[in-house]
């Protein structure tokens, strides 16, 4: 049987080629125009491959490639001089196949999340969170609370194409979520007020029902339990006097002196320290909680005071 023949259909333009590819590109050039003509033009997202313009005239003689189709079957049979990758109508370099996630995390597979690349289709792709698919280790889901020993401190960012749900469904549910925090209070008969709680450095978020707690004290001990595995410095109860009588938050006292403070995002989008306003006012305005490092929380307290004064 004849030896397998390799054809490199990728000819990256000079500036985009990693060094190892350059030699093969030069090699292709040696074989004459024919192979060069079969080279595919690629680029990183948003870049234009200047050589494409010349080739487009030669290569885009078939209507089928107006849409940027990679190959037609008969084309391949006829000598494949028309291997053009991507390219929307008119020779633009839309639709270039490129590493979707760029260089930021080593190029983790091919997510279709950049709607800017890929021509006129898939515009409804919702942007996905960054992909760290390859480093995932088996983990126990946080929600169940079982098998805590197995929790690996790996970033739980989204994996491309997982869970396996078609784009249409994904986008539909994303744009019209069945529950979201804004509607949480308006939910029929549910009487819950779930807000997300994130902690700097923790692998995943939790959710708490603010209506479930009656005071800052209860909330703080619940959060303490939830995030105890992540807290580096344990908080004991310090007898720190409350500030100006406004702060009844034991949480701040507890965390005072530790690395973390509890903050929340209110309806105006401002980040405030928890505990500065009466509990009911807090639950009314809290959209999200965040346990942040003390170093980052500098400057929050004065603003919180200001707001509180303006309100009362």
């Amino acid at each position: 049987m004849s030896k397998p023949i390799e054809h490199d259909y990728i000819g990256l333009s000079e500036q985009q080629l990693p060094s190892m590819e350059k030699s093969s590109d030069a090699g292709n050039k040696k074989n004459g125009l024919h192979l060069k003509a079969t080279e595919l033009r690629l680029g990183l997202p948003g870049s234009e491959s200047p050589e494409r313009e010349d080739h487009d005239h030669k290569l885009l003689s078939l209507k089928s490639f107006v849409s940027g189709a990679k190959r037609g079957f008969s084309d391949t049979l006829n000598g494949g001089g028309k291997w053009v990758f991507g390219g929307g109508s008119g020779g633009g370099s839309e639709g270039l196949f490129s590493p979707r996630s760029g260089g930021s995390n080593g190029g983790n597979g091919l997510s279709g999340s950049d709607s800017g690349v890929g021509g006129p289709v898939l515009k409804d792709e919702a942007a996905q969170k960054p992909v760290v698919g390859q480093e995932k280790k088996p983990q126990v889901a946080g929600g169940s609370g079982h098998g805590n020993g197995n929790i690996a401190p790996v970033s739980k960012a989204q994996v491309v194409g997982w869970p396996p749900i078609r784009s249409f469904r994904k986008n539909t549910m994303a744009s019209h979520p069945p529950k979201n925090d804004d509607d949480a209070e308006a939910k029929l008969g549910s009487g819950c007020l779930y807000v997300k709680v994130s902690m700097d450095g923790a692998p995943y978020l939790r959710k708490v029902d603010l209506k479930f707690y009656g005071s800052y004290k209860e909330l703080s001990s619940a959060l303490e339990k939830m995030f105890s595995c992540f807290t580096i410095g344990q908080c004991g109860s310090h007898g720190v006097p409350s500030r100006d009588g406004l702060s009844e938050s034991r949480l701040i006292d507890l965390l005072h002196g530790s690395e973390y403070v509890l903050t929340y995002e209110d309806k105006d989008g401002d980040w405030m320290l928890v505990g500065d306003v009466p509990w009911e006012m807090f639950t009314d305005s809290c959209k999200r909680l965040r346990i942040m490092k003390s170093s980052e929380a500098i400057g929050l307290a004065p603003r919180a005071m200001e707001k509180c004064k303006n309100r009362t």
Partner: protein, 619 residues
């Protein structure tokens, strides 16, 4: 064997243009064979002898091609001269989940060009995961005067402009089915392009388009198409508009509603309820976007004869579902969101004893710590109440081995078992053990199993079980599972009927890949991504299988090995700087040697494909 194959191929090409001969056995045989609908039966029949082969090919009117790269349109046209209906599938399934780069291929246009020449009376075209441009749609519309049915599922490359052209030019259109595509939705004016004289439409599905359409045009269209039995509208259609459509289409058998959340006056609600009561033929119901409990009772009259209820876009709570299902005793197929929770699934178990298929989709799949959703308890509850259950797609966040064992004990007839524990590599949450025994129970108990998707923490033991017991398995999907090459080897050597194998993020490498050499020729496709396969492994595979065409797709480019038989491999590699997609798509092909070094793809010899590999070629 080989020489007779060659003879057959020569004979068939001779018979192409010449008369078939008027010997009565052929004509009678053709008559009989024309009653055969199944492709597998037809493939078997064509193997009997030359006469049967010819009779079969002349009597076939529908061709199914499971992998568009397995055969050229010219070969199809040469073998089957009388085709009126074509079904084509293109990209690997994982392209639905963005694992295949855009503009990968599977372009329909070259097929259309051949069909225009060879099948000018083509009536139906059904495409799945193909790329079709507006230009191709235009070509289709003008080239086939008899064209009747267009169905596009998971396709891309086109826009609503293409639909407008179809609507304008296809005078005999009976079916326009546009589902879950990467369509460029530029607006709803396409629907207004159906001429006022046009009355033949029987099935219209535009549920997954987002733009508003001209309701008056739709109302008139539905009103004058008296044979319409399938109508699935999109979200832009309100309840009130739905009622107006239905009142003129009481013959509808399948209804997809629009948005189900409009504020209705009492009178409007009554009208809707009354119209729905008169719609006695509806057996399939879908849509129900944003359905609120308030309006669901209007559906009760329809529910009594409902066999398929698709609530997968309606985030119902458990109570709402329970109430609805109490009116659906005939239900065979149910699709829901996991907002219904385990309680809702208990209601499924108690209200729908005839249920055969259940799909539970996650409402919030990317929320990192969701409190709600379904668990193993819901699935178990359904299994107790629905002994006829044989097809399940279940997304959950926790599962146990014991639960799955119970489920398959209650429902041993599973043909499709797709379990997605959404956190990759998650063990049995009660015992912390791998989920091996769960899938072991599935394959041991469910002897009719054809399709299996596994998830959770799985070792090679799962695959040992699969290889040993899953003797009817045709499709296997694996993600984040396995311990070593041995796992994949078990499957490749053990499952005699395996056709499609898709693997992602598993520690299977070259040894595993190369262990399937005996298997690949009879398979339609193998996909491997983020595994441990290397370029060298692919090259070796290509060398060992000279009839294979191996395509390796690297993240920053694409390389193609040109072999004789077409089988492409897209390789995605986890290690190193280079990432590759490995996707092995194969159907047996006729082969031919190269004409020279610079001919990139091979030609296909007529006949060999079909004769030698009729069990794998659907054509």
């Amino acid at each position: 064997m080989e020489s007779s194959e060659v003879n057959m191929s020569r004979d068939s090409s001779q018979l192409d243009e010449s008369a078939r001969g008027s010997s009565s056995p052929d004509v009678a045989l053709e008559r009989v064979l024309s009653l055969l609908k199944s492709h597998r039966d037809r493939s078997s029949v064509s193997l009997v002898c030359k006469d049967w082969y010819n009779a079969e090919r002349w009597s076939r009117t529908h061709v199914f091609i499971g992998n568009c790269y397995s055969v050229s349109p010219e070969i199809v046209a040469r073998r089957f001269p009388k085709i009126r209906s074509v079904t084509l599938k293109g990209k690997p399934r994982f392209s639905d989940f963005n694992l295949v780069p855009q503009n990968w291929g599977a372009d329909i246009h070259p097929w259309l060009v051949v069909f225009a020449a060879k099948y000018p009376f083509l009536e139906e075209l059904r495409l799945k995961r193909m790329t079709i441009s507006d230009e191709s749609l235009e070509f289709l519309a003008v080239s086939f005067p008899n064209f009747k049915a267009l169905s596009l599922l998971s396709c891309d490359g086109f826009s609503t402009d293409g639909l407008a052209i179809i609507a304008t030019h296809c005078k005999n259109l009976t079916e326009l089915d546009i589902q879950e595509n990467g369509i460029d939705d530029k607006g709803g004016s396409w629907l207004s392009c159906f001429p006022e004289s046009f009355t033949s439409l029987e099935a219209l599905n535009f549920a997954n388009l987002t733009s508003d359409i001209n309701f008056d045009a739709l109302e008139r269209l539905v009103g004058r198409c008296k044979s319409m039995r399938v109508l699935k509208v999109n979200r832009s259609i309100s309840l009130e508009q739905l009622q107006r459509l239905l009142v003129n289409a009481l013959q509808l058998a399948e209804l997809g509603t629009g948005s189900f959340s409009q504020e209705l006056t009492f009178r409007q609600y009554e009208e809707l309820e009354s119209t729905l009561s008169s719609s006695k033929n509806i057996h399939t119901l879908s849509g129900l976007w944003e359905a609120k409990g308030l309006h669901l009772p209007a559906l009760y009259p329809v529910c009594t004869h409902l066999t398929f209820l698709n609530l997968s876009y309606a985030p119902l709570q458990s109570g709402e579902l329970a109430e609805l299902l109490a009116h659906c005793p005939q239900l065979r197929r149910l699709w829901v969101l996991d907002t219904v929770e385990d309680e809702g699934l208990e209601a499924v178990g108690s209200s729908c004893p005839l249920l055969e298929e259940l799909r539970v989709f996650p409402a919030d799949p990317f929320d990192e710590d969701i409190i709600h959703g379904v668990t193993e308890a819901g699935f178990v509850a359904v299994s107790y109440g629905c002994p006829r259950l044989h097809s399940v797609l279940y997304f959950c966040r926790q599962m146990t081995n014991a639960a799955v064992a119970t489920i398959v004990q209650n429902c041993p007839d599973f043909t499709h078992f797709r379990l997605c524990i959404m956190d990759p590599g998650q063990p049995d949450y009660l015992t912390n053990e791998p989920m091996d025994e769960a899938f072991g129970a599935v394959v041991k108990t469910c002897t009719k199993l054809q399709r299996l998707s596994v998830s959770g923490l799985l070792t090679d033991l799962t695959f040992e079980y699969i290889g040993r017991y899953a003797k009817n398995l045709e499709t296997l999907s694996v993600a984040f599972a396995g311990s070593s090459d041995w796992g994949m080897q078990c499957v490749l050597t053990g499952c005699p009927k395996l056709r499609k194998l898709e693997i992602r993020d598993c520690p299977f490498g070259n040894a595993a890949l190369l262990s399937g050499l005996d298997k690949y020729e009879s398979m339609r496709s193998l996909w491997m991504s983020a595994c441990n396969v290397t370029m060298d492994g692919c090259r070796q595979l290509a060398r060992e299988m000279p009839r294979l065409n191996v395509e390796v797709m690297k993240e920053d480019g694409m390389m193609v090995f040109k072999q004789i038989k077409y089988m492409f491999i897209v390789l995605l590699q986890a290690q190193g700087g280079m990432r590759h997609h490995l996707c092995l798509l194969s159907e047996m092909l006729a082969v031919k040697s190269y004409a020279g070094d610079d001919i990139p793809f091979c030609r296909h010899r007529v006949g060999l494909m079909f004769i030698q590999q009729s069990n794998s070629v659907k054509a």
